[in-house]
């Protein structure tokens, strides 16, 4: 009786093991390549890239340090535990204290005497004080080793008169620059792109003035300028038919 029972049980175990193995193998193989429980075509999470299709500025991030605006409750201030003072041992020898010299203070800087009124420096055509690319054929002023030369005071630089327009250019190109597609080693390189803006704000003559040395930066910077449909029309107070822009892309360092 035991033998028949034992044999049947062993056979039953073996059959069940084989069936279970077959079942698991089939289940694994038939679903190979898919994540469990997800039909990929309908995965509908909110995608960050979609925001660039809708021409609205991105929402400012919440300031975590602002106690009123954050969701995290700030911890209540902890009352410090009362300090216990050690009673000195009766036979302890006091440690001698070194006599210290009074610290030397540097002399207070005397304020510089007031300057005579200086002549107004006419700034060359620059908004950001970065590296100059040498002497450019500028409109109203030119920097030479001998100093700054300028023609007439009314002909001041575009960047000084229409700083808001230059800011618009910065923002529009920056919003089309997909920094997420940059290589990690792009930081430290700088790309210069030249283009012209016509009277109605359309962009022409886009070209890379000076490659940065990093192909991902070249590609993303050039496509950023190309993807701008048009800038605002040139300021009414400006008389020219178009302006030339030298735009640089300087990827930020990532920690």
């Amino acid at each position: 009786m035991d033998g028949r029972f034992g044999g049947g049980l062993a056979g039953s175990f073996a059959l069940h093991a084989v069936a279970a193995t077959l079942l698991l193998t089939w289940a694994y193989v038939s679903h190979a390549g898919q994540s469990w429980g997800q039909a990929a075509a309908t995965a509908g999470a909110i995608q960050a890239t979609m925001v660039s299709d809708i021409p609205l500025p991105p929402k400012a991030p919440m300031d975590e340090n602002n106690v009123l605006a954050t969701d995290n409750p700030s911890p209540a201030p902890v009352t410090p535990a009362p300090k216990t003072v050690d009673v000195p041992q009766p036979d302890a020898i006091p440690i001698p204290v070194k006599p210290t010299k009074p610290a030397k203070l540097a002399d207070k800087a005397t304020p510089a005497p007031p300057l005579h009124p200086q002549p107004i420096q006419i700034q060359p055509n620059k908004v950001q004080a970065g590296e100059g690319a040498g002497v450019r054929i500028a409109m109203s002023s030119i920097q030479t080793r001998a100093g700054t030369a300028s023609v007439d005071v009314s002909d001041t630089a575009f960047g000084a008169k229409f700083a808001y327009y230059v800011q618009e250019i910065d923002q529009k190109v920056a919003s089309q620059w997909y920094t997420t597609m940059l290589d990690p080693q792009a930081a430290g390189h700088r790309l210069y792109v030249n283009f012209e803006i016509e009277r109605d704000g359309s962009v022409t003559h886009i070209q890379i003035a000076q490659p940065s040395g990093d192909t991902s930066l070249d590609r993303t910077g050039l496509s950023a300028v190309q993807h701008v449909d048009n800038f605002p029309p040139l300021p009414e107070a400006y008389n020219g038919t178009h302006i030339g822009v030298t735009f640089y892309f300087d990827p930020a360092q990532h920690p």
Binding site: P55, A60, G130, M139, I142, E168, W177, T246
Partner: protein, 471 residues
Amino acid sequence: MDCSTSKSRQPSRPYPFRILAMVVSLAAAFVLLALPVLHALGQDNIFTGTSTGAAATIRLAVADFKPLAADPQTAALKTTFDTTLYADLASAGIFDIVSKSLMPPGTPGAPSEMQLQSYSNAPASASFVAFGSLGMVGSKLIANGFLFDAKNLQYPQVLAKQYSEDPTEDSARQIAHRFADEIILRLGGGTPGIAESKIYYVKISGGGTPNVTKEIWEMDYDGANQHAITHLGTISLSPRISPDSSRLAFSSLGRNGFQIRMYSLLLGRAVNFPEVGGTNISPAWSPDGREIAYSSSRTDTPEIWISDASGNLARRITSFRGGNVSPTYNPKTGAQIAFVSGRTSVPQIYIMNSDGSAVQQMTDGGYATSPSWSPNGQVIAFAWDRKYGPGAPGGQDIYVMEAATKKWIQLTHDGGRCDFPSWSPDGRHIVYANSADGREAHTRIWTMLADGSQRRPLTGPGADMPNWSWK
């Protein structure tokens, strides 16, 4: 940023240094002499750049305008003007408007009275200030508007505009709209403002009763100036304004069933559009204004037909059973049409070329209707009930889907049944119809920014199927 300039210094010998100075000053003289020629070419140069890929909102302070005269008519018009200008700029979606409690005291009326420091310092901390003066001068309403750059103390002026109109409420509102549009054009990255655009919609009278009539009405984009256009006394649906705002196409129930009707806003009367058999609904204009696509069941099942703007030379471009309705053209290219088809037994959104080829399904389930293509041609807004079916909780909301990748975002939540989204010309706003309890007579038209924020109603109950003008 790496600003190192390493100049190599030569040991200064008098002779080469003098040569160098002479050469440089000759070059300078040459350039100075050539400057008038160069200036005539009209080219200025800007050197600027960026280190981040982000844009920021512009902080704009909108000051109350100073009254030019002290009479009560000026005061009333000035109140209308101030509130309209503030509302236009606050709803533009690109500004961070300085709240009224943070504004510095005083109302500057002219550049000479303007103290920019008080606006650029805290608490206002504004980047730009809009101010000016308004009042009756003689028999005309004169408005002087200025936009100043608060960060540029040397050259602050961005805009200086003067408007002169008849002294009515409506013209005070229109002046405010035009000034707001000009500000948005200059500061908003080149996209014109929408303050002068109109919304055409269906007004339901006697809703819920057997005597219900639906007429086509028109209103300003902010809900003001609502007035009727058609007086047909029957059911008129889905108004669609032409791209040049001269003609209005809609579908109306007449003796021969639903037919496409054309109304000329310039002539103030209906113009001819041929009647055909079947049910003809949901007209759509192509972006060049030369063609109209609509759904017609003259061949027994609703298919998409395209005719020219006068209704002639109609040709069929779909041939699927199940009903094909609500075509809408891609306004950027005019080469694609999005439409609703019931060929899979529930209405889904499809895209095809304007000749009917390359049909592509965009939604993958639920009950999807009323597609509307954004002006930049990249996203489609539509109404979708994702949980549709017997026993399902339902809930129809407005979604936007990227046409290229089919990724979508839900814009409205838990507000009741939403339908008929329509994009604004700048692509930043969407107007839609919403009924909180699902009853047709309680449907109102709401507006929101295209990311789902700043939702507010534009009409009272009894308004449906809005359509935003093209400019």
